[in-house]
Amino acid sequence: MSATFVSKPSPGPARAPVPHASQARAFTAVLRRDLYVTGKELPVFLAQVILQPLFLLFVFGKVLGSLGYTQHGYSDLLFPGLLALTAVITGMQTLAFPLVVEFGWTKEIEDRLLAPMSTALVAAEKVLFAAMRAMTATTIMIPVGILVLGSIPWRWSGFPLLVVALVLGSLLGAGLGLVMGTLVVPQRINIVFSLVFTPLLFTGCSQYPWPSLSRLPWFQVVTACNPMTYVSEAMRAALVPEVPHIAPWVCIVVLVGSVSALMAVGVRGFYRRAID
């Protein structure tokens, strides 16, 4: 009962700015906490991120193909699209739902908001962690794809573009999650998720290449508005360049712009929720 460590009440007049090192320490400690929790819930994490793309892959890539409803080669253009889908959706889910709950209900985030780091860094950690999870989940889809389809389209020359698309797609998902997580109140989360999630899922060109939509011009316009489209198209450019696709540089420019805009809006929303 004789704890003696709470006995230095006066640290004196320290006016120098907080060393970056201590903010960096706080940042890595918060990230370590998130990784620790993910590690403990690994099976849940894997089930959460893999199940949906796995079934899409299985039904659209394998079952329909085996039954002859899809043309030979459809699974080759589906697979890159599902990588894009996994990256964006995982990034979004990792951030949005927990953020809404933490800000609106459990208030768990308060302990991190009171850590000696700037509020922007707390938001940055959330984004980094969500992007890491998204990239992990997408990488796992590669062996899953080999398992389900037997073989996947792969070319090492497209690898750098694949990595760029993976990183930008994960950040795009995290950015969407940050915006949704800070704008939505807990009571609305279910409605907003179903209103955003399903359209995002099916207008992001993960199941069809964008140029082929020229036969359906109105839908081509709709899909062009979904930034996920550019992740799918960049993935296809990397893995199946023979399929007509949007030029990779266009995808990269649009994605960098979208990610920047979402981060700007999301961080503002984060500040609004964190500080009255």
């Binding site: 009962m1 704890a3 460590f5 709470v6 006995s7 230095k8 009440p9 006066s10 640290p11 004196g12 007049p13 320290a14 006016r15 700015p17 907080v18 201590s22 903010q23 320490r25 706080a26 400690a29 918060v30 370590r32 906490r33 620790y36 929790v37 403990k40 819930e41 459990t106 208030k107 768990e108 308060e110 302990d111 991190r112 908001l113 009171l114 850590a115 000696p116 780091m117 700037s118 509020t119 964190a274 500080i275 009255d276």
Partner: protein, 327 residues
């Protein structure tokens, strides 16, 4: 230098016609226990919010030690800790991890954090429950854990928002004991409460808030002493023939500081038929009148069986200041 210093602090929320905190100033000395007392909506929590970097002041200054909270929130956060009203423990990790991760956020080395966690878990009576997740905790246990967590980085000032609201009496006493220990160790405590008993029991000084303004600020004793005429002295007198003669009552009323005398009629006169009680309303300190009344009664041949001092409570002080009750 004060541990906490607030000057002309104002908070007005957007779209609100009035200031939630309306130009308050006070200072809390290192090692002091400072209580902000007031009804819900008085501006206590907003004041704490500004001091703890979670609410941006509209104007004025709030400082922890030498650090201006609005100008350097990151450094201020390393000096303070907050125990909120409702649990915000991290539900995904065990109690022990709650403590050690909190320490890590504040840059405490892992070995040191582990040692402190053991010590605090033991001190707060939760050593054997360290591996449990906070979901399974009662309100009292969560409160204890949040105090323990707050102490992991050795804050200079500990803020507690309604520390014992919703706790059962035993849990409340436990929390109070821990807070007294902290004061003995020199931690500055600042708490908000709408419980006048809590304020009177724990705080060295109490600031009474209502409608965003600080109405009074002093030690609980001084605040209560300041209420003239509301101290009472109750006398139990052995009356020879079952009644107190009118001249005696008048003589009591002529003693210095006595404002009014009231003969009390017992609800159960059969209990002791010859004892009568009389209440004196006193301006100032009622205990000063014990000796003169005893002498007066003895001179006239009455035996004094007992005295009962009635002092005003902080609630009386609050009613006096605002014209209404705390709840």
């Amino acid at each position: 230098m004060p541990a906490v210093e607030v000057s002309d602090l104002v908070k007005r929320y957007p779209k609100s016609p009035v200031n939630a905190v309306d130009g308050i100033s006070f200072a809390v000395e290192p090692g002091e226990v400072f209580g902000l007392l007031g009804p819900n909506g008085a501006g206590k929590t907003t004041t704490i919010g500004m001091l703890t970097t979670r609410v941006r002041p509209t104007s004025g200054r709030a400082a922890i030690g030498a650090i201006d909270v609005a100008a350097d929130p990151v450094r201020a956060r390393s000096l303070l800790a907050v125990v909120p009203q409702r649990s915000n423990l991290d539900r995904s990790i065990s109690i022990r991890r709650n403590l050690t991760f909190h320490a890590a956020y504040h840059g405490v080395p892992a070995a040191e954090a582990s040692r402190r966690a053991d010590e605090l878990l033991e001190q707060f009576g939760l050593l054997e429950r360290g591996d449990v997740k906070p979901d399974l905790f009662s309100g009292g246990q969560s409160q204890r854990m949040m105090i323990a967590r707050a102490l992991m980085h050795e804050p200079m000032v500990l803020f507690l928002d309604e520390p014992s609201t919703g706790l059962d009496p035993a849990a409340r006493l436990f929390v109070w004991d821990r807070l007294r220990e902290l004061r003995e160790r020199g931690v500055t405590l600042m708490l908000t409460t709408h419980d006048m008993h809590e304020a009177a029991t724990l705080a060295d000084r109490v600031g009474i808030m209502d409608h965003g303004k600080l109405l009074a600020l002093d030690t609980p004793e001084a605040l209560m002493r300041g209420l003239a005429g509301s101290s009472t002295l109750e006398l139990s007198v052995q009356a020879q023939n079952g009644d107190l003669p009118e001249p005696l009552v008048q003589a009591l009323g002529q003693l210095a500081d006595v404002e009014q005398v009231e003969a009390l009629h017992d609800d159960m006169p059969d209990a002791d038929a010859t004892e009568r009680r009389v209440r004196l309303y006193v301006a100032g300190d009622a205990s000063q009148l014990i000796a003169p009344t005893a002498t007066l009664l003895a001179d006239r041949g009455f035996a004094l069986n007992g005295v009962d001092l009635g002092t005003p409570t902080l609630e009386d002080v609050f009613i006096n200041l605002t014209g209404r009750t705390l709840r």
